[in-house]
């Protein structure tokens, strides 16, 4: 039984915090290869923004923004981005995940191409981790039922 506890203060504060949370999560992902941070850490922060919505409002409210099917599809998309960058490197001619060869198709030099490759991979990891965190939470909280809960 999930009861919605309506309180104006909690709802407003959490609603104001969410864009800052997501911006900070994107910041952590983008600065991962240059300072502490990275794909997994940023993905957890992005996922926690959706979970904050689910905790402060109602699980149906969070499901409007990230339903379980959407979370599953995003998780797969993240891994496909990761593997896809590796396969692109393989198809151009170098070994798997050898980002240096990307300088032949992108208009940058060799060191910059490696940094771009790592950034692309971290973005894929971040999307997957965000989707998996939300999916684990939705599954556990609904008791494995995945149905719409009646709001009391």
């Amino acid at each position: 039984m999930i009861r919605r506890f309506k309180n104006v203060v909690i709802e407003t504060v959490c609603r104001l915090m969410t864009p800052f949370l997501q911006l900070f999560g994107l910041y952590v992902i983008a600065h991962g290869h240059y300072s502490p941070g990275g794909g997994f850490q940023g993905g957890c922060i992005l996922g926690s923004s959706f979970i904050l919505m689910a905790i402060s409002y109602d699980i149906d409210f969070a499901k409007k923004y990230m339903s379980e099917i959407k979370a599953t599809v995003y998780a797969c998309l993240g891994v496909i981005i990761y593997g896809g960058i590796g396969m692109v490197c393989l198809l151009i001619g170098a070994n798997y995940l050898d980002y240096g060869i990307l300088h032949t198709i992108l208009p940058v030099d060799l060191a910059r191409a490696r940094a771009m490759g790592i950034l692309g991979i971290e973005i894929g990891v971040g999307i997957t981790v965000m989707a998996v965190m939300v999916s684990i939470y939705l599954n556990l909280v609904s008791g494995g039922r995945h149905v719409e809960e009646k709001v009391e």
């Binding site: 300072s35 990275g38 997994f40 981790v129 998996v132 684990i136 599954n139 556990l140 008791g143």
Partner: protein, 124 residues
């Protein structure tokens, strides 16, 4: 005595590991066993990360104005990266275990090991 004082951090990790192992073996509730497993894995992560430090070293990020760098001034980043992977493994096995516990609860209506064994014995 010197043996204990200079290596105090290893004693700490081993005692955490033993707390986790004790919880897994002795506690009757499945969720407590799972928390024990989590403590066990966390102590291994602490052990690895502690092996990366050096005396008077700083974080392994190079500023652009450095000339020739001396590796003894920077901490070793490789165990940190390995432990990122291990933390991901820990979280995903915890998630799978919790989903399994929901399935067990739906069937037996309890999460206590003794009661579940009683129900299984009475069914046969």
């Amino acid at each position: 005595m010197d043996f204990i004082i200079t290596k105090y951090h290893y004693w700490f990790y081993v005692s955490l590991m033993m707390v986790g192992l004790y919880a897994m073996i002795v506690k009757k509730n499945f969720v407590k066993k799972l928390v024990g497993m989590n403590i066990f894995q966390t102590s291994i992560i602490l052990f690895f990360v502690s092996s990366a430090t050096k005396i008077h070293a700083t974080i392994p990020i190079i500023q652009e104005t450095e000339g020739i760098i001396n590796p003894a001034h920077y901490m070793n980043p490789l165990p940190h990266v390995l432990m990122l992977t291990a933390i991901v493994v820990m979280v995903s096995s915890f998630g799978v275990a919790l989903a399994l516990l929901i399935m067990i609860y739906k069937k037996y209506k309890t999460l206590d090991e003794d009661e579940i064994l009683d129900i299984m014995r009475n069914k046969q």
